[in-house]
Every structure is written in C-alpha cells, then in structure tokens.
Symmetry: C2
Subunit: 238 residues, 2 copies
C-alpha cells in the first residue's frame, strides 16, 4: 500500500520534495526519459536499474532514492508516453474522430511497443493516461452514446487498438526477415504437418486469399483488420 501511495504521488507530480540532505542532482523525469529511451531500443527487458543508472551516470542503487523500485519506474514511464497521444479535435463526424483517437493511440503503441508489455495491475492511472481515456469518453458523450454503453465501447476500442498495435509491431518485425527465412519456415511447417491444408481448410483459404493482396500482405491485412473492426463496432451505435 505504501508503494501504491508513493506511485500515485510520482504519477501526479505530488511527491514531497526532500527537506534535508544533499540536493538531488537528477530528477525522476530524467530517469523516466532515460528509461523510455532504453525501452524503445532494447525493450522492457533492457530497462534494468543498472542500465538506467549507467546512462545517467549513477549506480543502480542510487536510483532508489528517486523511485522505490523498478516496477514503479515502469509505471511512471507508461503514463509518461501517453502524453504523446493527440487530444481529439472537434470534428463534425464523431465516428471519424473516434477512429482518429484509435489511430493516435495505436501509433503511440507502435512507437513504444514495450508499453504493451507493461502489467495492467497498477495502483491507478496517471494524468496522461487519464487524459486519453477522458478524450474518448468526451467523444462518446458528444455522440450521445448512452452512459451505460460507454464502458462497453471504450473497453472494446482499447482491446482493438492494443491488439492491432501488437500485430503491427509483429508485422513490421516480420518484414525484416528474408525470403529464405520464410521459405525455411514454410518447409518446417510442411514437415511437421503435411496434412495442414486438409485439416485446416478455412485457415488455408484465408492465407491463400491474403497472398493475392500484393507484397508483404500481412502488413495490409493488419491495417485492414484494425480499421475494419473499428468501423464494424461503430456501425452498431446509433
């Protein structure tokens, strides 16, 4: 519980300043920004106290005078990057505005894929994350979606956005693989499941259909699935 209180204080910028002792020469913000940089290039696994300490010119243990632990640092990082999500603009078509909200959040996740790996068991939201949710809720309020339906819609949209971001990150990573790599993988699958097509006719049909969609079909497929799902979901409202 003490960590939860401390976490909320750090999230909302309300941590009491030290009153004695040597002056702090770093800020929590510096640690957070440094850790975000590391996560962006090496993933969440790269965010070790030693790595962050090394980059700011301190030892790992001295970071504990700023944050109570690694988990709290990650929680603050998580809220921090939500500041990058653009606030909704006033647009006549509320469905377009909701879609833009989804794209903005999805794009933030793609720029910082590690965010999707952060545990959702957190003491609460920080201000930036709360702003993002409030932005969506305002769009739904303006569209006169009933109050009782809003949690359903927000929940579904968050679901779609997060999974779409994961898929886009994966799709981009898969694009980096060579044709040889793909051929070997196909061969390996054929070796272990020679009857794949007979067993899974529908999955095979989808794969065949997608292979007619141009180069790197999985990128287009991920994008279509994302915007298509939003469109389907919003079509029901009204």
């Amino acid at each position: 519980m003490e960590d939860a209180v401390r976490t909320l204080e750090l999230l909302w910028g309300k941590a009491p300043a030290p009153r004695r002792g040597p002056n702090q020469t770093l800020t929590v913000d510096q640690l957070v920004t440094t850790a975000i940089g590391i996560a962006d290039s090496a993933g969440l696994k790269g965010v070790t106290m030693r790595a962050v300490g090394n980059e700011v010119g301190r030892t790992a243990m001295s970071l504990y005078t700023y944050v109570p632990g690694r988990e709290v640092l990650i929680t603050v990082m998580h809220d921090h990057v939500h500041a990058e999500v653009p606030a909704p603009r006033k647009v006549a078509d509320w469905r377009k505005a909701v879609t833009a909200w989804c794209v903005g959040l999805r794009d933030m996740y793609v720029r910082h894929p590690w965010v999707l790996e952060v545990s959702q068991a957190r003491p609460g939201f920080g201000p930036h994350e709360q702003d993002v949710l409030e932005g969506l809720l305002r769009l739904l309020a303006r569209a006169e979606v009933p109050l009782a339906v809003r949690p359903t819609v927000t929940s579904a949209l968050y679901s779609i956005v997060r999974e779409a971001a994961k898929r886009k990150v994966e799709a981009l990573a898969e694009s980096a693989q060579s044709a040889e790599w793909w051929a070997e993988r196909g061969k390996a699958l054929q070796a272990v499941a020679p009857d794949f097509a007979e067993r899974y006719p529908e999955s095979t049909a989808i794969a065949r259909h997608q292979s007619t969609q141009g180069p790197q079909p999985w990128i287009k497929a991920a994008e279509d699935a994302f915007t298509g799902a939003i469109t389907l979901l919003l079509a029901s409202l009204e």
Copy 2:
C-alpha cells in the same frame, strides 16, 4: 532458425525419438503439464527450469535434453492449454455459436491467466491453437461472412476476448481486497488529484453510474463490456 524448427517439431508431436543413449524416463508432455501446474499457481514467473526440474525429480540442466530452453517450453505449454477450448457445436444461430466460442476461449484464459503473458512472437501455431482458430473460421464460413472480412472479424474477436479475460482476472483479484484497501486508495488519489472530478467529468460520471450497479460493480461491468462488445461487432455483419 534451428530453435524454430525444433519448436515446431515439439508443437506438432514430430520431434524425432532418440536413437542411442540411456532411455528417457520423462516425456515432454510431463514437463509441459508440470510447468502448466506451476504457472497456474505461481504465474509465468514461477516457471523456472529449477522449479520444473524440482517437481519432476531432475535438475534444471537435465530438462535441456527434452526442450532447448525455457521459451520453447512456454510455447508448448501455450498450445497445450488451447486444447481445453471447446470445439464449436452446430447451432442454428451462428451469432450464438460465435459468442459461445468467445466465452470458451475467454474462460480458458481465465483458468490460465499466464497465457495472456506469453509473447506472441512465436515460430507458429501448434495444433490446438490452430484448431481453435479454425473453429471460429468455420462458423464465419457457415454464416457466409465474406472471405475478405473474416480476418477483420477474427482479429477483433481475439482482441475482445483477450482483453476481457485480462479484465476478468483483474476484477477477480481486486475482489479479494478489503474495503479498507479501497478506501485508502481513494484517499491517496484524492490527495494527489483533488480536482479529479472537475478535470475528468466523463470518467467520474461513468464511475458514479457503475457504483449504482450493486456490490463489486467492476465484475459486472467487465462481463457486460465483454458480451456487449461481441454483440455490437456481430450486429454489423450480415
């Protein structure tokens, strides 16, 4: 790439049997089943090679004669539990059948919450996971959903199911907290953000509305959001 081939072999039960040396006295299945038990009680973090080895009466290092590493063991575990998802039944109402598919998968995730933490970067599906996907695709085919729309629908449904499972797991965990814990948490938030209600009127309205829905409103809210989202999504198809 060698690990990928080995992984696919293990997933599809096509790993070549050893031809010399002492006979293996364990099976990969035993390791997988043991590891699943550990994950179910202690989470994915509890699945260490030492923990699994200890339970089967071997050292951690000897497990490497069965699986090439911890990641592969987890991949096989992941496919294994997908066998618990019931195959779709023939029902006249295809929307009901799809909803049942979602509930079945969601329930599997809730029984094994660690599955949601398994990295999606895997060499490919195993048979059980492929069966689950094929089951859904067959429902969509029978409902005559256009081939090009099926990836969108499956992607969205997976999204909704996974996030709903996460929320249910969290909701159940939160139910275990005392009223005192909740009061302290509310106080802590009030202390760091005294102007919360003014800043976030829509979020506050939702919280107020949900607090009128009976005890432990977050459990009902998570369930409503799940079934509501499926309903909304399927309503657009036809």
